[in-house]
Symmetry: C2
Subunit: 429 residues, 2 copies
């Protein structure tokens, strides 16, 4: 183990960058003891140096490219963000010089992870990306190291704090999606353009990374199907409660006989499943391994300090000289996997239909389900509004997604329906 300091160049002094600089300064002695050498911030870059962030003797650069080219460092910590652009450019620049990289940038890893891993391998550099998934939760380390003896069967996670905050608040306060989103935007919990979070894109990035680690495959972002939470209504959340579920935006990746199924969707999660109790800005990941069985890791999924904790864990690993293949095994061992046909996925479902309160409607619905061999489990219909619309809520037993979609297409075409059917998957416990 080297007793030279590990020299760190930090690009980006926003929330996470500031948190990381604080951690490196506040815990300097602890980190030196743990790593056996100092972790020294030698250079930082940002458009301007924000006040109140302890930068010690680090050189300041207004241009990250210049820092990467000229500063004295062993590892670049990239906390600028964005799938490409300046972040990708400086990461490639650092790797090309044989420098290590630590990043919290899930978009960049999801889009360019394999390309970057190849570059790093060629030049003997390491890429740490613990902070890219699940904030402070050590999920990357667990998959690559702690569960290294397992073939992973599935990974299911709550991976986006903004969505989980919105869904938790909708339930706690009985409010509707648009209302809670607007408030979250005012409070700074959601972006002005919230699509990245609420349409599931951010979750898809993280899921693509986890699936790669879990199933020893190159990252396949294209293979992740994606559905967000815009269509989840207060009414659905209320019915979920009544039926013994919580609605959560999940990223789910499964190894099946026909390939890997990777998808993002809001799901009804039974109270007996660990993810049902993960609320607010917390994230959690449930992994099923063939030897270890089920493990659950939960923690804060974002924020300056938790994310800094993950960034620094990667730095301590580098300082200790630990070398782990980026995806848990060498790139040459990663095997692309076919996408499992989504239509063959079996699941139970929750269906909410808004139907005009007329005689005979239910017979048509029941016939459509019967003809596609979809078997009903529960039905809730109460309240009457003769001439108006009433909700009819059903849960159906496990059925093939293609059958469910066919039945639903028939139901959607019924003249009695006043709006398209609402469908939410029920996650098996």
């Amino acid at each position: 183990m080297s007793s030279e300091p590990l020299k760190i160049a930090l690009a980006g002094l926003g929330t996470v960058g500031g948190g990381t600089a604080s951690l490196l300064s506040l815990q300097a002695d602890l980190l030196e003891a743990r790593a056996g050498r100092k972790l020294r911030l030698t250079a930082v870059s940002a458009l301007e140096a924000p006040p109140g962030i302890p930068l010690g003797e680090a050189s300041f650069y207004a241009d990250a490219r210049k820092m990467v080219a000229e500063a004295d460092y062993d590892v670049l910590v990239e906390l600028i963000g964005g799938a490409s652009g300046i972040a990708l450019e400086i990461v490639k620049g650092a790797l090309a010089k044989g420098k290590h990289v630590v990043t919290a940038n899930k978009a960049m890893i999801a889009h360019h992870g394999v390309e970057l891993a190849k570059l790093a391998d060629t030049l003997g550099a390491q890429i740490g990306f613990e902070a890219s998934v699940g904030g402070g939760i050590p999920i990357i380390k667990s998959l690559r190291e702690g569960l290294a003896g397992n073939r992973v069967v599935s990974v299911k996670g709550i991976l986006n704090g903004t969505c989980n905050y919105i869904l938790t608040t909708m339930r706690a306060e009985g409010r509707d999606f648009a209302d809670v989103l607007a408030e979250a935007q005012r409070l700074g919990y959601a972006e002005a353009d919230p699509s990245f979070d609420i349409d599931g894109v951010d979750t898809a990035h993280k899921l693509a990374i986890l699936a790669s680690l879990a199933f020893a495959m190159p990252i396949d972002l294209e293979g992740v199907s994606c559905e967000g939470i815009r269509h989840v209504s207060a009414l659905d959340i209320q019915y979920a409660d009544e039926l013994g579920y919580r609605i959560k935006l999940l990223g789910v990746a499964r190894q099946t006989d026909k390939g890997v199924e990777a998808r993002v969707y809001p799901a009804m999660v039974p109270l007996s499943f660990p993810l049902a109790h993960v609320d607010g800005v917390f994230n959690a990941v449930v992994t099923e391994g063939d030897f270890v069985g089920r493990t659950v890791l939960e923690g804060r999924g974002a924020g300056a300090r938790p994310t800094a904790s993950a960034v620094v864990a990667d730095l301590v690993d580098l300082a200790r000289g630990h070398v782990t293949p980026m995806f848990g095994l060498p790139l040459s061992h990663l095997k692309p996997q076919p996408q499992a046909p989504l239509g063959e996925h079996c699941s139970a479902y929750y269906i909410r239909l808004m139907v005009r309160d007329e005689p005979g409607v239910f017979a048509d619905i029941a016939a459509a389900l019967r003809d596609e061999q979809v078997s009903m489990e529960q039905i809730i219909q109460r309240g009457r509004d003769p001439g108006g619309s009433v909700p009819v809520v059903m849960t159906v037993h496990e059925t093939k997604e293609s059958s469910m979609q066919k039945a639903l297409a028939r139901i959607a075409a019924l003249p009695a329906l006043s709006e398209p059917p609402h469908l939410i998957r029920i996650e098996a416990a």
Copy 2:
């Protein structure tokens, strides 16, 4: 990274030993890809070779001492168990030869961990003990590596599967402790002498290990105060339900201004606390770090396959050449910490009194509490049995343990009490 195989000598072919041999055989290719070299079982020892365990070309030894002295290996996997005796002897024997050690033996680590770490340090060997706490949960790795940037504030865990199974079954089936324990013994979930589990000794071993990692102190088993679950009754569990709690045997270690408080006790856990939903044979650990905040790790706490998963994770780390100080930082940095005075611990409490149904009793109880400044929160008294005994259940607000004990001593002396008071701490969420 060496491309020579990592040669493994395995001592003990019981449940975990058999599971480890199976894992090494079944996942040989995966492990080779992950570690960059083969993990080869070269020697095993057991009283006799059980049938059905894949031992490949490993040499068989009936005497573990002889194996340690004569076999060709890089790492000894000790799965015999016991705080001292043969397990300790062979571990010292292997370390003395400069061989690495991987063990699931929490009793040995809790009693002799520091002594073994010194021996290992002297000879450049590593000791892996992930399997000693929490079965397959990568909790040791998380504390030493994943959360390396944090000062840990507290660690709270459900660390004994037998106790959690008993408490979960008592609640689910409304049965009493002795009854469920007897059944667990018949089913092989509890030992013929169950004291080690149900009196909290096993939890204390694991907590002592976690506290050492969390607070950078030498293992201090003597400093762990310990209370088991024998006195938890079906009635208490029923009241817990009514009050919105679950009763769990916890190991809790906290850093306080006056030192470290480490104790094992059955606690009322609010439903909003993650440990409330950890049932059956599952274990879980909640860690509070100053940067990461709260993290929760949950998984199977025992059993052949989950424990083998943890043993093999340590072997993969060794094969990858990762070197981590045994307690997360060098032995010279471990600082003994004073035990925080237990009497100053503040907690809310649940109290159940069995009192003779006579006028005026409650006034005496209330006076005893008032005189010690213990403030009542809720009282449940229902059912009458004139001349007989009825339960009076109270919860009290946060109070110093010493005040609580003084009040309780006065209450215990009241002639109306038909049995000693039952006291259970209420864990803060």
